[in-house]
């Protein structure tokens, strides 16, 4: 069992575009070096990760989930619905981070109890700034519930 620094923050990124994963990684690293970023590329993997099913048996519980909506196999909306319906996971804030700015997507996400909806800007500097503000708000300013240190 690896020890966890008190300041470590676990963020789960659910994103299928490798380019976007890389950009998000770079931006998060630039914003906050205490972030341990885990990445899964579809909704099914995301649920396995949360439930600590193989191959994720040792997975840390995320403090924050960044969720893209358009994912293969199980799309982001389904993940949102499942996570928020599950007592074990619904306290984890989920920030939807996606390309769309369509009304119906925004509405649907909040109806499914997303904590926030963000659309990815095209400009790199704007994207970096957005990721920084996610860090500033969710991981620095907002209080998050203690998730418990033990991993059964």
């Amino acid at each position: 069992m690896t020890s966890r620094l008190a300041t470590d923050v676990n963020v789960l990124l659910v994103e299928d575009s490798p380019g976007d994963v890389r950009l998000t990684q770079e931006a998060l690293r630039g914003a906050n070096i205490s972030i341990r970023l885990q990445v899964v590329s579809d909704g099914i993997e995301a649920m396995s990760f949360l439930r600590r099913e193989s191959p994720y048996t040792g997975a840390p519980r995320p403090d924050l989930i960044l969720l893209d909506l358009n994912l293969p196999k199980m799309d982001g909306r389904e993940v949102l619905a499942l996570v928020k319906a599950d007592e074990a996971f619904r306290t984890i804030p989920i920030v939807v981070l996606t390309t769309s700015d369509a009304e119906e997507d925004i509405l649907a996400s909040y109806q499914l109890q997303a904590n926030a909806y963000l659309s990815k800007p095209v400009q790199l500097s704007a994207f970096e700034s957005l990721v920084r503000s996610i860090n500033d708000f969710w991981l620095t300013t907002a209080k998050l519930p203690r998730q418990g240190q033990s991993r059964g």
Binding site: G19, D20, L23, T99, A102, K120, V122, F127
Partner: protein, 376 residues
């Protein structure tokens, strides 16, 4: 002459008059008795059904109008012939007629009663509505096609909002990352190449965004309600705060009325037109004035007047087309779709939009909207 003979003579005179009228009628006319047999018909009826009249007189009406006619007239256990008839008067009934050659065609019949010594007769005016039915079918088909096309457009707009933008972000973002990370290892030319690439990606993104806005006028439009044009203008100016401050523009207005509109789209309309007025300014401070005058009962004509550089008359029509850009890319940024969006919004509201040069500097855009109860 005896009374009876006079009555008989008068009777046959009015009968003759009646027959004359029937014969001259433009529609097919058929007189049917209580039993459902044809008593009388006119020339048009002969032509329409392809029979000689001696072939039809005395025959059941059901021979030429197989269903729907005879049943409507016949006295049955629940009502008399007169009552049955009374229920049908004045309404056009759509049925099917059958010609002598067996072919069927759609007809509309109007019934009127005729009472004589022999009982109740029914005069039926029969109109061939083949052409009308074809037009209705065509209309239904067109509506269906439009619905399908609209659905496809909605899907396309959704597709554009995700799938087109994502690869674009990859190109743009990684080009910029390249420049940021390795900039000092690259010479000026390489930097320039990167700048061109990034610029291209940004322009593409703007185009997609504008195309989406254009398509959303239809797909995300809300219903028209009583809207305060003043408040819509306030919202537009709030969104334009940055551009107004940057260009030191002065925007003024007269009192504006209540109109029938989609409040969000009205704001968008004001925003696009005022932005246009501000953008194409010459050397002087941009001034834009918004006003409205009555253009008829419950019709308002709005004016957005600027003091900018104006456009040549030959472009007045083109300016509202999609992607019409009248200036070189270096002079003024823009995808050229803003005014096409304005036109689509105005047309969705049932109005018209136009532009005309001012006597002095600049142009005035005018559009009409339906009023919704006075100035406010």
């Amino acid at each position: 002459m005896t009374d009876e003979a006079i009555r008989a003579a008068q009777g046959s005179e009015s009968a003759a008059k009646y027959r004359g009228l029937l014969e001259a009628a433009p529609d097919a006319m058929i007189v049917v008795g209580e039993t459902g047999d044809i008593v009388l018909l006119n020339l048009q009826a002969e032509k329409q059904f392809g029979y000689r009249r001696d072939e039809l007189v005395g025959q059941p009406i059901a021979n030429i109008i197989p269903e729907g006619f005879a049943e409507r007239l016949i006295a049955d256990g629940t009502r008399s012939a007169a009552e049955a008839l009374a229920q049908q008067i004045g309404t056009g009934i759509e049925l099917s007629g059958r010609r002598k050659d067996g072919s069927e065609f759609p007809i509309e019949i109007m019934l009127s009663p005729l009472t004589n010594a022999d009982g109740v007769l029914v005069t039926a005016a029969i109109r061939d509505i083949t052409v009308r039915k074809a037009a209705e079918a065509h209309l239904t088909q067109t509506v269906d096609e439009l619905r399908r096309s609209n659905e496809e457009l909605t899907q396309f707009a959704y597709f554009a909002s995700h799938d087109l933008q994502e690869p674009l972000r990859m190109v743009s973002s990684f080009m910029q990352l390249l420049s940021n990370r390795y900039g000092d290892q690259l010479d000026a030319e390489a930097q320039e190449f990167i700048t061109f690439a990034v610029d291209g990606a940004n322009r593409m993104q703007q185009l997609i965004h504008d195309l989406l806005s254009f398509s959303r006028v239809g797909t995300e439009g809300h219903e028209l309600i009583a809207t305060s044009a003043e408040r819509a203008l306030d919202r537009a100016l709030m969104d334009l705060r940055g551009a107004i401050e940057e260009s030191r523009a002065v925007v003024t207005r007269d009192a504006l009325p209540m109109v029938l509109a989609d409040p969000i789209q009205l704001s968008q309309l004001f925003q696009n037109l005022i932005s246009n007025g501000i953008k194409y300014h010459g050397t002087s401070i941009p001034r834009v004035h918004v006003s409205a005058t009555s253009a008829g009962p419950e019709i308002w004509s709005f004016s957005i007047r600027d003091n900018g550089i104006g456009i040549a008359p030959q472009y007045f029509e083109r300016i509202f087309g999609m992607f019409q850009r009248l200036h070189g890319r270096g002079d003024f940024a823009g995808t050229g779709i803003g005014l096409a969006i304005c036109k689509k919004i105005v047309e969705r509201h049932g109005g018209t939009i136009s532009v005309a040069p001012n006597q002095g500097d600049g142009m005035t855009f005018r559009f009409t909207l339906t009023g919704s109860g006075g100035l406010r």
